[in-house]
Amino acid sequence: MKKIYLDYAATTPCHPEVIEEMLPFFNQIYGNPSSVYQLAQKAKGAIEEAREKVARLLNAEPEEIIFTGGGTEADNMAIKGVAFANKKRGNHIITSRIEHHAVINTCKWLEKQGLKVTYISVDKFGVIDLDELRKSLTDKTILISIMHANNEVGTIEPIQEIAKIARERGIYFHTDAVQTAGKVPIDVKESGIDMLSLSGHKLYGPKGIGALYVRKGVKISPLIHGGHHERNRRAGTENVPGIVGLGKACEIASKEMANEEKRLRELRDKLYKGLNERIDDIILNGHPHRRLPGILNICVKYVEGESMLINLDLEGICVSSGSACTSGSLEPSHVLLAMGVPAEVAHGSLRFSLGRNTTQKDIDRVISVLPSIVEKLRAISPFGKEAKSKEYRG
């Protein structure tokens, strides 16, 4: 059975050219980039070339790119880095209710350290409330951290407007672009972004590598202390193969993004249309068009997400769910809740995320397989009989 992978927002396979590019750095050009001899300087050179490629994807300067151990580390570094380096300027951070846990839990930790954090609401499409954001600004605000696009529903936030608000008040603006880098165009200069996180494994690069863009002049302190690596901003022997792989992935993305964006959007819309025609009581989550091209998030009423997901897996189809049960907590997706989706409906969410290898055939297969899975589970569900009736609380 051919696997149909529709969870590209969770992680992506490495692009074959990425793997090829990385391989020599495991046991041929293996020198420590901090060393002086040629074997090491070649590794150092490869890092600098990768840095240029990452910078080019964002229209940044190479010196503004800091390699990290992933997207989560980049988020932590940006937020804690600003918090610790700007204590004298203030102690207030603004973020949103729909951020990734890498941002939310970092903010929660900072609250325990005495900082104040405001979590801005979103509308039913998952778009940040700009008025609420403006009103929550104080003299002590040092940072606004709002994601570029949400990882569950794909809604793209008005970051250019947010950047403007931040810049007018002399507040730093960080955006978690882990889901958007390499998927939609980003221009840090034009957008007025001060800091931006991205992650290798979301754009066909390897896992365990990421980058933080930090605009020249932004004051942040390191998250990881030690040697002089990354211009004293992130210590630790560089993950040379990972960095080289991320560089290659960014290079490929720069070239292929425009075509891929269009292709995925079409496939995704076909998928939704097909499912919507064949399954009753499904809801589209996220903004109808200001949304990442590859993401389709729906709620299927009266059934729970994981049980659909496992049935799909039995058919060789890999998707994800914002369902609580996938993480072992009882709370369903904080993103859907923030968008006003009732908890019992939110439990029935499914996220399809399309990518490089997704074909029309894959989409057709899902459309043909999911309806009978839903039917079967609704037959087991105590709410199944309520389908189409008004009794259901959803």
């Binding site: 049960c325 993480s327 019992e344 569900s381 105590p382 709410f383 199944g384």
Partner: protein, 132 residues
């Protein structure tokens, strides 16, 4: 690497794919409903009792794979048992009968135990009323 790494045991998957005793019992002797749709799992368990023995059991469940499999398993386990025996079925026993559950899913087995207890209590309450 080991041959098979999976979230659920083969037994869990067996019961998930082919759940036993799905549905309702008309005129049940006891019904238990536990869980909460807001928390993501709800189990309804129906029992039919004859001479203090559970002769039939059925369920409906809204929940994850483990919730469905434990519901299926617990209905299998109670059939033929006396009410007293059935009350002794612990969540661990259900989990073990399924060759184990992942730690984050143990609460599903608790739910199964609770649903069974609720159904039996319902039966006992009804019986008490009748006897009075």
């Amino acid at each position: 690497m080991k041959d098979q790494w999976a979230l659920y045991s083969k037994k869990v998957m067996e019961h998930f794919k082919h759940p036993r005793n799905v549905g309702e019992i008309k005129n049940p002797d006891g019904v238990g409903r536990v869980g909460n749709p807001i928390c993501g799992d709800v189990m309804e368990l129906y029992i039919k009792v004859k001479d203090d023995k559970i002769v039939d059991a059925k369920f409906r469940t809204f929940g994850c794979g483990a919730a469905i499999a434990t519901s299926s398993m617990v209905t299998e386990m109670v059939k033929g048992k006396t009410v007293k025996e059935a009350l002794k079925i612990s969540n661990r026993a259900v989990a073990e009968a399924l060759d184990g559950l992942p730690p984050i899913k143990m609460h599903c087995s608790v739910l199964a135990e609770d649903a069974l207890k609720a159904a039996i209590e319902d039966y006992l309450a009804k019986k008490n009323k009748k006897n009075k």
